[in-house]
């Protein structure tokens, strides 16, 4: 079965947790004991209906305050697909949480309250989805029950959202009118909206085509770990273990190793279960080469005629995630990109982008928590990267504070130099 990973985004009252609860409930992914526990807690809290939001808000503080603190992961399956939901809260730390949840997502689901239409947050979510290159965006226009399932209102939201999305790069945009509370158009098509000709949300999630979203062209293999058994049986074994992050590798392929630039040939691709004839992402394999060259963690194996950019200078969009510090020019940070660790210095902050209006503030003094901007970075070591647009794996990095060790930024590579 195939996986679909999706992130959900919405403001605090858009009914996101209710929708997730509904998806889990209607696909029979909620178990009796979980439901009983939620029912008991709802009653105790004085809720009129069983509060399905409690299924996802698991921490004590969340239950007490009725909020979602952090990204939570949920799982459900239908006979067609398995789903992983990254549920990202809409109110506090929205940008940081959504960037985190969406970084591994194939699809983003944005909730809009039909009564309020496209609000500031809806725009922000659409922008982040486009920045992170999530190939599919589904807008759920929720609470249709509160506007009498009115087609005109739905179309108005749709048009408004489309107008804004035109300024962004979103390859696949769709709209579903729903009522999460009553389950309309969530799992089954609703009889209350005969004018809606599209599929139910679940049906859409089951059918959306994601297989072509991966990069099968640019062969990239960041060396993660060198396997040397040093046993009698495997005396001279030297295998390069890692995850394929782009393209396809086969035994017999001519390869080049960065940064040394030495060329060799793939002797075999090994796994515990036997040799592999073709390795592609996201397989974790072990590669052996025909010649003995010095290769270690952080090196990159690729094809001689298709190499990533090798540079110490990066152009990137970064999302700052630290509450206690700000990103400033001349700042030094630890960087992790593929399996390579380095130190970087911030050469320049070119602009900060207002995630609500897309307006650019040129040359800001700093980037604060949840702000996104374009920066130039200088790395102490060369990095082997692709444009994020081309490859999410070789085009992304994180920055860490060298003193507190906290993860302080997510980075998306847009160019070199």
């Amino acid at each position: 079965m195939e996986f679909l990973r999706f992130a959900t985004a919405g403001s605090v009252d858009d009914g996101k947790s209710t929708l997730i609860g509904r998806l889990l409930y209607d696909t029979k992914s909620i178990f009796q004991d979980q439901l009983e526990s939620v029912e008991a807690t709802s009653k105790q809290m004085g809720n009129e209906h069983t509060n399905l939001a409690l299924l996802t808000d698991g921490l004590r503080a969340e239950r007490e305050q009725g909020i979602t603190i952090d990204v939570a992961y949920r799982y459900f399956a239908t006979p067609k697909r398995k789903f992983i939901i990254a549920d990202t809260p809409g109110h506090i730390q929205y940008t940081r949480n959504m960037v985190t949840g969406a970084s591994t997502a194939d699809l983003v689901l944005v909730l809009v309250d039909a009564r309020h239409g496209v609000v500031e947050q809806s725009r922000r979510h659409a922008f982040l989805a486009s920045l992170l290159r999530i190939p599919h965006l589904v807008v759920c226009v929720n609470k249709m029950d509160l506007i009498d399932y009115d087609e005109k209102a739905f179309n108005a939201v749709k048009e408004e959202f489309r107008n804004f999305a035109m300024k962004l790069e979103i390859s696949d945009l769709s709209f579903v009118p729903i009522s999460a509370l009553h389950g309309d158009n969530v799992v089954e098509r609703s009889a209350k909206m005969p004018w809606y000709e599209g599929s139910s949300l679940l049906h859409h999630l089951e059918e959306v085509h994601i297989a072509s979203d991966r990069n099968l062209i640019d062969a990239r293999f960041p060396v993660q770990y060198v396997i040397r058994p040093q046993s009698e049986e495997h005396h001279d074994y030297r295998g390069y273990a890692g995850t394929v992050t782009g393209g396809v590798f086969k035994p017999g392929d001519e390869v080049v190793v960065l940064p040394s630039g030495f060329t060799s040939t793939v002797a075999s691709i090994d796994s515990y279960d036997g040799p592999i004839s073709e390795a592609f992402g996201p397989m974790s394999v072990t590669m052996r080469l025909t010649s003995e060259i010095d290769i270690s963690r952080g090196d990159m194996i690729c094809r001689p005629n298709n190499q990533p950019t090798v540079s110490q200078d990066l152009q990137a969009m970064v999302c700052w995630m630290s509450e206690s510090t700000e990103l400033t020019p001349r700042m030094k940070l630890a960087l992790k990109h593929t399996t390579r660790s380095s130190r970087v210095m911030v050469s320049e902050i070119q602009y900060r982008i207002d995630v609500n209006t897309l307006h650019r503030d040129e040359k800001p003094e700093s980037l604060k928590l949840n702000e996104i901007g374009r920066v130039s970075l200088r790395s102490t070591q060369p990095l082997f990267f692709d444009n994020y647009r081309r490859n999410r794996n070789t085009g992304s990095f994180i920055l860490m504070d060298e003193v507190t060790n906290a993860t302080v930024a997510a980075g998306i590579i847009v160019g070199s130099g």
Binding site: E2, Q32, L55, L59, Y73, Y225, H234, A241, M283, I398
Partner: protein, 304 residues
């Protein structure tokens, strides 16, 4: 796995993700270890770790926090696997913690060593200077675990701070720590109970016999079937009966319940799990029933 379409099925994807994490930790940490309870999740972890480093042996030891209240079948299984894999086993004993006065045994018929394990574990981490501990926790198991990261940071007291977790982006993991701190690593975070069983069947992984339906002397307590053993004290109302049962989770004998079952092989277990309407922890774990946030509270203290 289909070669022509370049697509991986869900079990292959989950396996690749876990192997990636095992290798990442082995590369970036000095003294990792794999926590092993003898339960199916830790057996799965051991299998995945073996795959990650093949044909080399495991580059880290296996740590068993031994409550002393074990199923004998599980200990036999542990020793056999360790021997086969030529792995190094470190045993941290709760009994020893009690003898040394580090913890005090709970009293009464409901006494359990579940909570005492945390001290034993943290002492062992300090003693062995472990800086990364692989655990087999899954996000689908329990609501506090649904908020866990793959790399879960623990301070010098072993504490988890759910409100202040490091954001985890793409597959880039931040393993930076200071001395005395450590990371709990959960490579099978994204697996569901069904995935685990399907994978065990596919890979033909041997598991302890207690997971298959068998006849056992049990008694009812809190809606669960507990095995009669020297580690539990029955009240006069808790009558023994013989039932055909199996275990869905395997922990301390004093707080792990059995479920009535006819599933004698993996295929039947998968069928049973596919149709069950109760979570594995809900059905079988008294330790989670203490309160709504029992797991969260224990995790904050440094529990698995």
């Amino acid at each position: 796995m289909s070669i022509t379409t370049y697509e991986l099925n869900h079990l292959d994807q989950l396996e690749a993700e876990a192997i990636h994490i095992f290798r990442e930790v082995a590369s970036e940490f000095e003294r990792p270890c794999l926590m092993f309870s003898g339960g199916k999740d830790s057996i799965l972890m051991l299998h995945l770790a073996t795959k990650a480093f093949w044909p080399a042996r495991l580059p880290f030891p296996v740590l068993h926090v031994d409550t002393g209240h074990n199923f004998p079948e599980v200990i036999a299984y542990r020793d056999q696997r360790i021997k086969e894999l030529e792995a190094r086993l470190v045993v941290a004993s709760v009994q020893k913690s009690i003898d040394e006065g580090r913890v005090t045994e709970e009293k009464g018929p409901r006494a359990s060593r579940n909570r005492l394990q945390t001290t034993t574990l943290l002492d062992s981490i300090e003693e062995n200077k472990f800086d990364a501990l692989f655990g087999g926790a899954r996000r689908d198991e329990e609501k506090a675990r649904a908020k866990e990261r793959f790399y879960s940071f623990r301070d010098e007291f072993g504490q988890w701070d759910p409100k202040n977790q490091r954001p985890e982006l793409w597959n880039l993991y931040n393993g930076r720590i200071r001395q005395g701190e450590h990371i709990r690593v959960f490579p099978i975070s994204n697996w569901t109970e069904l995935d685990v069983w399907q994978y065990i069947e596919r890979e033909d992984i041997e598991i302890p016999s207690v997971y298959f339906a068998h006849k056992r002397e049990v008694f009812q307590r809190d809606g669960m079937l507990l095995a009669d053993s020297e580690f539990v004290t029955r009240s006069e109302y808790e009558e023994l009966m013989t039932r055909k049962v199996r275990y869905r989770t395997v922990g301390d004998m004093s707080c792990t319940g059995a479920v009535e079952s006819e599933a004698e092989n993996l295929k039947q277990i998968i069928e049973e799990i596919s149709s069950t309407r109760i979570t594995e922890r809900g059905a079988t774990r008294a330790d989670d029933r203490v309160s709504e946030a029992a797991m969260e509270d224990r995790k904050k203290e440094g529990y698995f």
